[in-house]
């Protein structure tokens, strides 16, 4: 056994016995005022079932041993907060818990967990947390969520226009990614390379109305020489618009990073899977370390220019063995200023793809890599988004994709030539579904067309056509795998 690992295990053993042996010294300000830096704690092992709301737990997080208070608990997971960090949530699973804090000694005075004052204070903190949670929701969303069932019953068509649109501005790309469904588009010389200014202008009134747009591409958006002009146009027409950009990060020079900041782009999604050294085998042509440097420079510029935007999110595809590197990537991302990581399932196109799909073959892991990544992200203040799917419904059609040539597709799976999907032992060819072209018809007309409205209605009620069913089933399987891993 490596010395470092033995040392950590020994530290855990000592910690869990601190109530009878040497006490553990608490460090930090997360639990002020109840626990102060320098307090001596007595920790005892505790069975999961015996843990109560309000208990203070010490748990393992790689080489660290955080100590926080339980505010929610299920059979398989607990949610903890720091008394001094009430807005942050930390999840912990049974196998990571080392023990419960049973005593605190400060300036020679010892308080124990069974004392009335300790219990009363614990109840106070939990109550404050619960009230704070409810108030935060009311503050963010108003009272509507609580009155929804009474004053706003579910309507047939919840949106008069899409809440967001994805605008593909470039079909040119410098990478050949193994899982890319657009390789044929990249190679098709008859396919329009870049969206034109004229096409984009037809979308500006809609963008102004909905207040959100996501620039992406079947290729790399930064290849479009007019991209920053597009962003500036949108920003000028609708100053409050949320503008997102997806990129592979290879062309994210310092100059372009500065432009993104100055134009007020809200979020940059960088597609990156695994650590440098691994990603090169997935996104052929990429130099992983260069992209990491580009991201780092972007976040440094944000600091220099005193800007909070753009937020940097990594779109992390967990196929091809990248799952095992998730924890290390979270740490790497923290170091370069990444705020969010979205785990993406790989939609397999072939049988071999399916064999390397999200989390496949990691049953022996019992979800530990994912749980560790979640805990690391939470402690770093980073958001880790997991693949989720709404039960028996698909809302993708409410986020239409606009192709470079102006075609309006309901989602990224039914665009261009369609897509191949491996499902239940068969390779299924998804068709291309377009409801119109904005260069010839107004978007409002396309959106309200009976065919598109019917398509949306059916998808949100689970009345899928066979192709949508196949796509939905693959995504649901992935989401279920995530849930299973977290429950194991």
């Amino acid at each position: 056994m490596q010395l470092e690992r033995a040392r950590l295990l020994a530290k855990e053993l000592q910690l869990a016995q601190s109530s009878v042996g040497d006490p553990v010294v608490f460090h930090g300000n997360s639990m002020l005022p109840f626990l102060q830096d320098g307090d001596a704690l007595g920790v005892e092992p505790v069975a999961w079932k015996a843990i109560e709301i309000g208990d203070i737990l010490t748990y393992r997080l790689e080489d660290k041993f955080p100590t926080l208070r339980v505010v929610r608990k299920t059979e398989r997971k607990a949610v903890l907060i720091g008394d001094n960090w009430p807005k942050r949530r930390f999840e912990v699973w049974p196998e990571n818990v080392l023990g419960k804090v049973m005593s605190r000694t400060r300036a020679g005075v010892t308080r124990t967990a069974d004392s009335p004052r300790w219990r009363l204070y614990s109840r106070f903190v939990v109550l404050r947390y619960k009230l704070g949670s409810k108030l935060a929701i009311v503050k963010r969303k108003g009272l509507k969520p609580y009155l929804h069932a009474v004053v706003n019953p579910r309507r047939e068509e919840p949106y008069q226009h899409p809440p967001n649109i994805q605008v593909n501005v470039s079909a040119q790309c410098n990478l050949t990614c193994r899982m890319c469904p657009y390789l044929s588009v990249h190679q098709d010389s008859s396919h329009l390379r870049f969206m034109t200014r004229e096409t984009l202008m037809r979308l500006v009134p809609l963008i102004k109305r909905i207040g959100a747009v996501h620039f992406s591409g079947s290729g790399e958006p930064l290849f479009n020489p007019q991209l920053f002009e597009f962003i500036a146009l949108v920003r000028q027409a609708a100053p409050a618009t949320t503008i997102d950009l997806t990129t592979n990060g290879t062309l994210l020079t310092e100059k372009r990073a500065r432009q993104l900041i100055e134009l007020g782009v809200s979020k940059v999604h960088v597609s990156f899977d695994g650590l440098p050294g691994t990603v090169e085998a997935i996104r052929l042509g990429i130099k992983g370390s260069q992209v990491i440097d580009n991201i780092r420079r972007l976040t440094e510029l944000k600091t220099e220019l005193k800007s909070r935007s753009p937020i940097v999110q990594i779109n992390y595809m967990t196929g091809y063995g990248t799952y095992a590197e998730l924890g290390e990537f979270v740490k790497l991302g923290c170091g370069i200023g990444v705020s969010e990581i979205q785990l993406l399932e790989m939609q397999p196109a072939t049988a071999s793809d399916a064999a390397e799909n999200l989390f496949h073959g990691v049953e022996h892991d019992n979800g530990q890599a994912l749980k560790t990544a979640i805990m690391l992200a939470q402690h770093a203040g980073m958001t880790l988004h997991l693949p989720r799917v709404t039960e028996n419904a698909c809302y993708y059609p409410y986020n239409p994709h606009i192709g470079e040539d102006g075609e309006v597709y309901p989602c990224c799976y039914l665009d261009y030539d369609g897509r191949q999907l491996y499902h239940e032992g068969q390779e299924v060819r998804l068709p291309s579904v377009s409801f119109g072209n904005i260069t010839t018809h107004a978007f409002a007309q396309i959106w309200s067309s009976p065919a598109y409205a019917e398509f949306r209605r059916k998808n949100t009620k689970g009345d899928f056509n066979p192709h949508c069913r196949a796509c939905y089933e693959v995504r649901r399987m992935t989401a279920r795998r995530v849930e299973t891993l977290l429950e194991s």
């Binding site: 056994m1 295990l9 020994a10 053993l13 000592q14 016995q17 042996g21």
Partner: protein, 93 residues
């Protein structure tokens, strides 16, 4: 002589056929290899005399008792010196 784990002061964890022990009195910690972990696991089941430990180790690693005896004795003496094991009864070897 029968060997016992000194449960009053020793805590341990076994991970992947290797054990980490800690003396909670002096906080010294020890890492055992697979052979040491095997012996530790034998003693976890119940206190055992020297001969029984030697026999189990020899069987497990397909050696003769003569071949393993010296190493087992040295291991047990070291563990005893560190107060991780206690001995009872007269020596019968």
């Amino acid at each position: 002589m029968t060997y016992h784990i000194n449960q009053a002061i020793v805590r341990w964890r076994i991970v992947d056929d290797e054990a980490v022990l800690i003396n909670i009195e002096n906080t010294f910690y020890y890492s055992l290899n697979k052979t040491g972990t095997l012996i530790w696991q034998l003693l976890l089941e119940r206190p055992r005399p020297f001969a029984e430990i030697v026999g189990a180790v020899a069987t497990r690693f397909r050696r003769t008792e003569t071949e393993v005896s010296a190493d087992v004795r040295q291991f047990l003496e070291q563990m005893g010196a560190e107060n991780l094991l206690t001995m009872t009864g007269a020596s019968a070897e």
